[in-house]
């Protein structure tokens, strides 16, 4: 069982308190403007399914209830970072450098 750092509570807590919420930085296109079928398909269904560092969303469900973003290595199952909604997507090279 993983330990997850909630960037809002600023605490590292057991995975049981959290729920996984899919890939991160999948922006919903502004549907008030024309959006092509392909663009909408990509938003709905197309995911990276990476082996390695994966940008993904988690929610501190049994805690503050907030959604946040994380980078987790899907091979080692290690979190490289967690960060708040709206914060800039961290560069992978910086993260890998830091984790060394």
């Amino acid at each position: 069982m993983l330990l997850v750092h909630c960037p809002y509570c600023e605490q590292t807590l057991p995975e049981l308190e959290f729920t996984y919420a899919g890939e991160a930085h999948v922006a919903r296109p502004d549907a008030a403007t024309p959006v092509s079928d392909e663009e909408w398909r990509n938003f709905l269904f197309i995911r990276n399914n990476v082996k390695g560092p994966h940008y993904e969303r988690w929610r501190h469900f049994h805690g503050c209830g907030r959604y946040f973003n994380a980078v987790r290595d899907t091979v080692s199952d290690r979190f490289l970072i967690t960060y708040k909604v709206g914060e800039t997507r961290p560069e992978l090279s910086d993260l890998l450098e830091k984790s060394k």
Partner: protein, 997 residues
Amino acid sequence: MSNFRVAGRGRIDPQTPVKFTFDGKSISGYKGDTVASALLANGIHLMGRSFKYHRPRGAICAGSEEPNALVGTRRGTGQFEPNTRATVQEIWDGLEVTSQNRYPNLSFDIGAVNDRAYMLFSAGFYYKTFMWPKSFWDKVYEPFIRAAAGLGVSPTENDPDKYASRYLHTDVLVVGAGPAGLASALTAARAGLRVTLVDENAETGGTLTSEPQAVIDGQPALAWAEAATAELKTLGARVMTRTTAIGYYHQNMVGLCQKLTDHLPKPDANTPRERLWRVRATQVVLAQGALEKPLVFDGNDRPGVMLAGSAQTYLHKYGVRVGDSAVILTSHDSAWYAAFDLADAGTKIVAIVDTRSAPAAELLAQAQKRSIRVLSGYTATGTEGRLRIKSVRVNPVVNGKVGTAETLPCDCLLMSGGWTPSLHLFSHTKGALAWNDDMQTFLPDRKTEDCEIAGAGRGLWGIAAALNDGAQMGATVARHLEKEASANEFGVEGDRPGTGVSHKELPTDLNPGKARAFVDYQNDVTAKDLRLAVREGMHSIEHVKRYTTNGMATDQGKMSNINGLNIAADALGKPQPKVGLTTFRPPYTPTSFGAFVGYHRGDHFEVTRKTPIDSWAEENGAIFEPVSLWRRAWYFPKNGEDMDAAVSRECKTTRSAVGMFDASTLGKIEVVGPDAVEFMNRMYTNPWTKLAPGRTRYGLLLGDDGYIRDDGVIGRLSDDRFHVTTTTGGAARVMNMMEDYLQTEWPDLKVWLTSTTEQWATIALNGPNARKLLEPFVEGQDLSDEAFPHMSIVECTVAGFPARLFRVSFTGELGFEVNVPACHGRQLWEILWEAGQKHGICAYGTETMHVLRAEKGYIIVGQDTDGTVTPHDAGISWAIGKNKPDFVGKRGLERPDLVAEGRKQLVGLLTQDGITKLEEGAQLVLDPNQPIPMKMVGHVTSSYHSDAVGRPIAFALLEGGHSRMGETIYIPMPDGVINAEVTGTVFYDPKGARLKL
């Protein structure tokens, strides 16, 4: 005392004799004995029959890695456990032990005919022997195999024992309380850390219990172990024995299974049998030691053939000599010491047979001192003896040539093929292993977790090495935790370090194709099987493993892995590291289901949610049904009515007088804030801007893919406040979805969401008398149709309770839903029930609710929709606000597949005979005479008898359904085809006149 018991030896208590039964026969032992040690003390080696060939087998070792001596134990009614290792189970007065996999008895077993037919049962025999005819598999082969092969039988009674689970946080977890573990724990505890030390054995000491001759810092080994354990406890360390670390998970979470009562004759009724611990340790030290390997040669499995180190353990830990005349067969120095100790205890050592040509001079000198014959540079090529070994055949090997055989009579053969570091837990972490060519074994390499491996677990041999390495590792983890720590240097006398070599199967002068040289004892896999697997094309070790089942038994190849690898590598002509090792997985030893289940059984398996009115329903004879986690009143039978009769009466009463329904399970979400209306506009398909406070609207929720997710009536209480209702099962999902969009897509909106499902009790009153019943109790609102029309909401008081009152209907009748704080729910229900008597009231349940709504064509999301249904498919596209710039699902609805022709659409169905009720889930076809498999064009989603319509009614999802009105479709059923007419979905009061009463 039997003549195999050595007075004054061992950790048993000779003052406390214990009697237990083995296959009904009374056996004596002492407190502290295991089943195996007590049987061996009585001269009994035969303890079981093997899995496939039913070969007689005895205990091969003294620990939890035992593959052969598996027994059934019975502690009482429902307390039968199969496949218990006799080498682990401690004895107590009255324990019942039975042998397994034999008929009619252990000494004479009919299944042993398999052993004669061994040529048939080689690797992959399932795939080859039983291929055809195909029909034979179910009727002949499988029953035969199932009856013939196997280990213990599953218990059939419910398990009455309790199982517990707990969490533990600790600075340092040390796994294994041998010399390395004790030294690690002591060093860390002395540095001021919270230490937890666990060991699967009944007491600490590990290998020291087998080597009492050693002297550590001037103290006898066992006294040192006791003192170290006592000091640990004084320092506040938690020392847990009979506790196995079963799995090592991410971020230093280690699962422990603690056995609390299996060793007790009369356990306290409140003590759980086992307790599962989830330990989160900042640092872990793995000090699991090493496991001895057998040697692989013909007949290496007869009762009496045993690991030399285990014979040494039986002698020193239990005071048991495993035989009167022993042959030692070894490729490692350690077995020589077992020979010396046994000789000193009175066992005749017939010979020490070493596969190495030049054993150490110091060993030879000690053997000579005891007049023990030494045969070096020898191989073993066979054994004799049906239920117990009688002799072993040995041959000299000169320049790779096997010479003339000699037969050595014996009653036990003690072998050692060297030692394998126990790296199971380390492997659970995906830690990398590196092959060490000198030691011919894998050692821990790159780590993925915050752990250290100490002692024999990383190939260090001898007590001094283990102690000093343990202390070093204890100091290392302490420094990781920023504590000052220094590692003691231990002084050890009487240490017995040594070396050895590793073998594939031993060379023989006989036909190796006929050798019964076992590698995996529990799954009956021989060296020949492994070579056959390679010849037949299994070139990956993972394939070899699965084809032969080597290492796949409950012992997970603790003894067989390296021998199997050596043989497979030889057959493949590759070095071992190029062949690789199979993966170890949790649990380390077989673990009961009870331990994993813990408290989550029976009523505690899952919560049952009950409404505030549930108790009334129960007192009034309701039959319940589960709806998601809720328990809901299904119907209220009166005077012995069956369900159809009760539902028919409830429907009729509601349509003609008034019915009362507990709708408290409806999901409720309070949407509040200056941007509440904008949020509602974006979430739901409907337009909300013009909905006036005091009015309600049917709300439809889609996913961004355009499919229906949920629905419910939504009331606007004020400009900035909505009372949203959802389906019973969808409440949490809708809440999550709203939070997701609010937090991540529209964080700019000032809106707050609160789940209020359980804050309100909801009572629905439906029927022409509903107003007459409710009116006298309502203060602050005129209930007339003009003042409070259909689809209104108001905050008022009902019977003196603060209430949110809806005028709404899910039945098609004049309807109200009264929401009061949950604590008043039952009281209000009883007041209305009392007052309703003169209006002909009935209580109705979910089944009547389903019928009434179906008659009116109201859908249930999740029953009439399945996650691929659009509003248009369901015939409710009127609920879409066409002029809104965006809402969840708006763009999705324009996807090409969602506007294509021929989608499945919701329609009504009326069976043409007017009598037959369709089955929900039944498939629809257009042509009932087409050949099977027929093309299915839809299915029935809802189906009921309807008194109001006078015939059965149904809904179905049907391809192109909206354009098939009036057509006949067909429902093929096992007893014939049913014809039905496609209709609209509203069967009753299509103009809605009854709503406006």
